[in-house]
């Protein structure tokens, strides 16, 4: 048995995959058991992680809902032409017929003064006040839908500008404008959520890292003795990494519940709001994919946080 490169015989490091899997499962369960024995401390750590993740998660869910909603409105970009007060319904109908020949315009509907008043009365609830005015103050309105070729935001805007210059037209209002604004707002909100998610992810890393650091300190004698009898660094590291993973997963679960609760609590008011707009819109919660992302993402954050703490603090512990 003489020395390869003067180093002596190599060590037996045979790798047994089955044993490896069993050992990981044992360590994972032991870690879970250890956390379970201090339920309050575990729950507090997991809850802080859960709240940190639920915040951007819930906001993201809301923004996604708004995006779905505005997407539905997008394709039905419409133009409202409010005619000047002195234009009669007959003139309005004539104008509608003329405009109907324009290639950019798809369908046109004339809303007479009486009809507009009735609708306004129904939606606003200001019926009595209107009655007191005596005279109907509403103008004739042409509601038109651009033809598919002109329904893009820019084309529709050009059309609105042209229509606004017609002598009979008081205001040409492109309903797309506020949809666009909504788009801009959701984009800003999305960006904000990413920034928030980034900051809160860092908070999660710090929380898990600090928890694991304390645990490492508590178990210092155990770590030293285990190294003394021949434990590799991987062996020492493993339970702490599983601690981090479990904290993350539990935090993810709590976040998932919190997001669910916030969506549920908004469901009522949103349905009411949608009703006012004659819309069937329903707030949707987390999809399967989103739920899985919250859970696994949180688990991953816990694991990374533990990894960082372990890397920093475990190397310094050596038996003496």
């Amino acid at each position: 048995m003489k020395a390869r490169n003067g180093r002596g015989p190599g060590f037996n490091r045979r790798f047994n995959p089955r044993g490896w899997v069993i050992r990981h499962m044992q360590v994972a369960l032991a870690s879970l058991g250890r956390l379970w024995r201090v339920p309050l401390a575990t729950f507090m750590t997991a809850a802080v992680i859960g709240i940190a993740i639920a915040l951007p998660g819930a906001m993201n869910t809301l923004v996604n809902n708004v995006r779905t909603l505005s997407g539905a409105w997008d394709s039905s970009a419409s133009l409202s032409l409010f005619l000047k007060p002195d234009v009669s319904e007959a003139d309005g109908t004539a104008l509608a017929r003329l405009l109907g020949t324009w290639p950019e315009i798809g369908t046109i509907r004339v809303i007479g003064r009486a009809e507009a008043l009735a609708e306004f009365r129904r939606l606003s609830g200001f019926g009595d006040a209107l009655d007191m005015l005596g005279e109907n103050p509403l103008p004739v309105v042409l509601l038109l839908q651009p033809s598919p070729s002109a329904s893009g935001p820019d084309a529709a805007a050009t059309l609105a500008e042209r229509l606004g210059k017609l002598p009979e037209v008081d205001i040409a209002q492109l309903d797309l404008q506020w949809v666009r604004r909504l788009h801009a707002i959701t984009r800003t909100a999305e960006r904000g959520i990413w920034v928030l998610a980034g900051l809160l992810s860092m908070a999660v890393l710090l929380i898990v890292g600090n928890t694991i650091r304390l645990e490492i300190n508590n178990r210092r004698p155990e770590i030293e003795i285990t190294k003394l009898v021949g434990a590799t660094n991987a062996f020492i590291r493993r339970p702490f990494l599983y601690d981090g993973l479990w904290y993350g997963l539990m935090g993810g679960l709590i976040a998932w519940v919190l997001i669910g609760i916030s969506v549920l609590s908004l469901q009522g008011p949103v349905a009411e709001l949608a009703g006012l707009y004659d819309s069937q819109f329903e707030l949707s919660g987390l999809s399967w994919r989103a739920s899985l992302t919250v859970l696994l993402g949180s688990g991953l954050l816990g694991l990374i946080g533990a990894w960082l703490a372990v890397g920093r603090h475990l190397a310094a512990i050596e038996p003496a």
Partner: protein, 221 residues
Amino acid sequence: MIHFDNVSKRYPGGHEGLSGTSFRIESGEMAFLTGHSGAGKSTLLKLIGLLERASRGQVWVNERNLNKLSNRDIPYHRREVGMIFQDHRLLHDRTVFDNIALPLVVAGIGHQEIRRKVRAALDKVGLLNKEKVYPMMLSGGEQQRVGIARAVVTRPPVILADEPTGNLDPELSREIMDLFMQFNQVGVTLLIATHDISLIETLGRRTLVLRQGKLVGDTPA
């Protein structure tokens, strides 16, 4: 089995715990290490278990040059060197069984084999009926025997003991030494550091004497 070639250990701060020590302990030998407090006994044992690394010179254990082992090799080296301490270094929140099983668990040994080997080690040190007990509930001598069982459970070729009888009365010390002699009879190499000159004399084994970090005596058996 253990070979020191002009080995020195300088601790941070400049103090020399060991200076220019050379000796050789053959496979199957049982030797004592003695000397005044601060002479360097623990330092010498720590170099063998790679708890410390030599500042100068070469240390060979089990055909391997320890200077050439990387930090990643250290755990595998320690599995071949059983270490016993005066303060036992047991885990107080684990049962006697779990304490003794630790080196086997660390080495990835299977469940069944662990049971068998731990039982065998407990039997050897005479603590078979204490496997479910926690170390705090044992006497000093019993705790030391748990430490010994843990050191031998993997059947390492080398066992190091740093003042294993330091806190024990003469009778218990004698029992512990008898245990070591039994291991030696089955071929284990032992190096035992102790202050207890009278005990060493009754046993008639090779004795290395350290003074101020230097090897000043080597009385053969």
